[in-house]
Amino acid sequence: MKGLKMTRFLTLGTALAALAAPALAEERRPTGELIAMNCGTCHGTYGRAFNDSMPPLAGMNPDKLVNAMIAFRDDTRPGTIMSRLAPAFTEEDYRAIAEYFAAQEPIPYPPEESE
């Protein structure tokens, strides 16, 4: 629901921007690296935390992560805060975040030490 609203808002915003400044370039988005580092506060630096709640994201298959974000956005996947955060981002953002984490070295199992 929230995702839908957001999409409409963006469309309107883009239309208005086009009206005001036709030459305006496509909206610049935050990089996957920056967004992913904010994920790291709960999921660990580089996505390498191992605990009872938040899954480590380092080395995750990017499609899996993108699909999880879509499911959170659509409120079809249970969780705590993720369904409230996912609507802030576009599917291209999800992909960029997923590529950042896919490139990180996965945490060994069992973890050598908790991070």
């Binding site: 935050p30 904010n38 705590t80 955060l85």
Partner: protein, 429 residues
């Protein structure tokens, strides 16, 4: 502690390198020097992430204290659930793993023209970019009848973790059977918006098991607070909130909860709703930007630090950035998560400047789990962007849903505990 004048400083190799208004250019070929004042959550995160994404930068933290106690989970220490060790951290990993230099000393002044920080031992530390992250200052003098002496003894604040936390813990765990705790909540804006309400909750949780005729009363100069819906639902479910025998009471401003004065002699608090006597009185004073920020002239008439919200560049001094609780950051709360997120953004800003790249598009996050009881959590979370007016605004977010799913608060309590571990590691490991 004042803005030191240039002529008081030794004019050496750095003389002539200053520029008042235009940002100072990074010295060609030389190491890029970032100096950070304050090794708390904002400063420590900034140091680590600048070195992670920008290893050619030379990073120095100047910090007064050798240990840091996180405010997150300090309420658990007060109620005896955790020991102080669990929330104690230091900067050794910054030195050993990230090559950050640490100087343990007081800052006595900064020469913004010469780009020098002077410390109490007389050293001058040069910088190209200065990051100021001094947290909050508690305005004890603003509370009628209160004093610094009373705040260190009978009416502690427990709003900077460490000895204050242990003072509150001693008093709390020795509360007489049937005793009363009075919490004086601060006005907006303040560090850790859910903190007073989580603290009262955890005290009520302790009473439920150990002191069932005791009570905690929150006296509030406000009529609403963060996560109010999920908090009050939890209070109703667990503590008989709103009934005669409630373990927890909240007196908002409209019911006379605003405090007129306190009296440490009689352990009483005067409000429009009458006099409240407490066996334990926890006065959380109004707050302003950390003293260092104020002494350096980085605050405006609001007593907080104005910054460009896309870069955290101070609007009052060149080549200085202010992050964390001290800065004015639009819709973001004064939380540890927010400080951590601002620090990461700033690491990207500094890298862009260093490499002559366009400034990054900002993105910030905040997530905060609070305990209503040891096994009952509530949360708030949001993502932020910077709008066309240059203000930080929330683009998505919300608080815990209030519903009949019994697993939701249990799950959020589990997340709260794990969050603190990963959060502290992201800052300090």
């Amino acid at each position: 502690m004042t803005r030191i004048s240039r002529r008081n400083l030794i004019a050496g190799a750095l003389a002539g390198s200053a520029s008042l208004s235009a940002p100072m250019l990074w010295a060609q070929g030389a190491a890029h020097r970032v100096v950070i004042l304050g090794g708390g959550i904002g400063g420590a995160t900034a140091a680590k992430y600048i070195r992670m994404i920008n290893p050619e930068a030379e990073v120095t933290i100047i910090e007064r204290d050798r240990t840091y106690y996180t405010c997150p989970r300090s309420n658990d220490v007060i109620t005896g659930v955790l020991d102080l060790d669990t929330i104690t951290f230091d900067l050794s990993s910054h030195r050993n793993n990230y090559g950050v230099k640490t100087i343990y000393d007081e800052v006595v002044g900064v020469d913004f023209d010469a780009h020098l920080v002077r410390t109490a031992d007389g050293s001058d530390v040069p910088y190209d970019r200065l990051i100021v992250s001094p947290g909050v200052d508690l305005m004890i003098d603003q509370v009628e009848g209160h004093s610094h002496q009373a705040a260190e003894t009978v009416m502690p604040h427990g709003w900077k973790a460490g000895p204050q936390t242990m003072n509150l813990r001693r008093q709390f765990l020795n509360l007489r059977p049937g005793g009363t705790v009075v919490i004086v909540a601060p006005p907006n804006p303040f560090r850790c918006p859910p903190g007073p309400y989580e603290r009262a909750s955890m005290m009520a949780d302790h009473f439920r098991h150990h002191n069932p005729t005791a009570k905690v009363i929150i006296l509030d100069p406000k009529n609403k607070f963060t996560k109010q819906g999920p908090f009050t639902k939890g209070w109703e479910r667990l503590y008989g909130y709103g009934t005669e025998n409630a373990l927890l009471e909240w007196v908002p401003e409209e019911q006379g909860g605003g405090v007129i004065s306190v009296d440490p002699e009689t352990m009483s608090v005067e409000t429009a709703a009458g006099t409240f006597k407490g066996d334990l009185v926890n006065v959380i004073p109004p707050m302003q930007a950390g003293r260092l920020a104020k002494a350096l002239g980085l605050t405006n008439e609001t007593n907080w630090c104005p910054v460009d919200q896309a870069t955290f560049a101070s609007t009052l001094a060149p080549d200085v950035h202010v992050i964390g609780d001290s800065c004015i950051a639009g819709a973001m709360p004064k939380s540890g998560y927010a400080a951590n997120s601002q620090a990461k953004m700033l690491a990207h800003v500094i890298r862009s400047e260093l490499q002559g790249q366009p400034l990054p598009v900002p993105s910030f996050a905040n997530a905060c789990y609070s305990l209503v009881a040891e096994d009952y959590g509530v949360s708030i979370a949001a993502i932020y962007a910077v709008n066309e007016e240059g203000k930080i605004v929330s683009t998505a977010g919300g608080v815990s849903a209030i519903d009949d799913k019994p697993n939701r608060p249990v799950l959020e309590a589990v997340y709260q505990k794990n969050w603190h571990r990963t959060f502290a590691a992201d800052v300090f490991s």
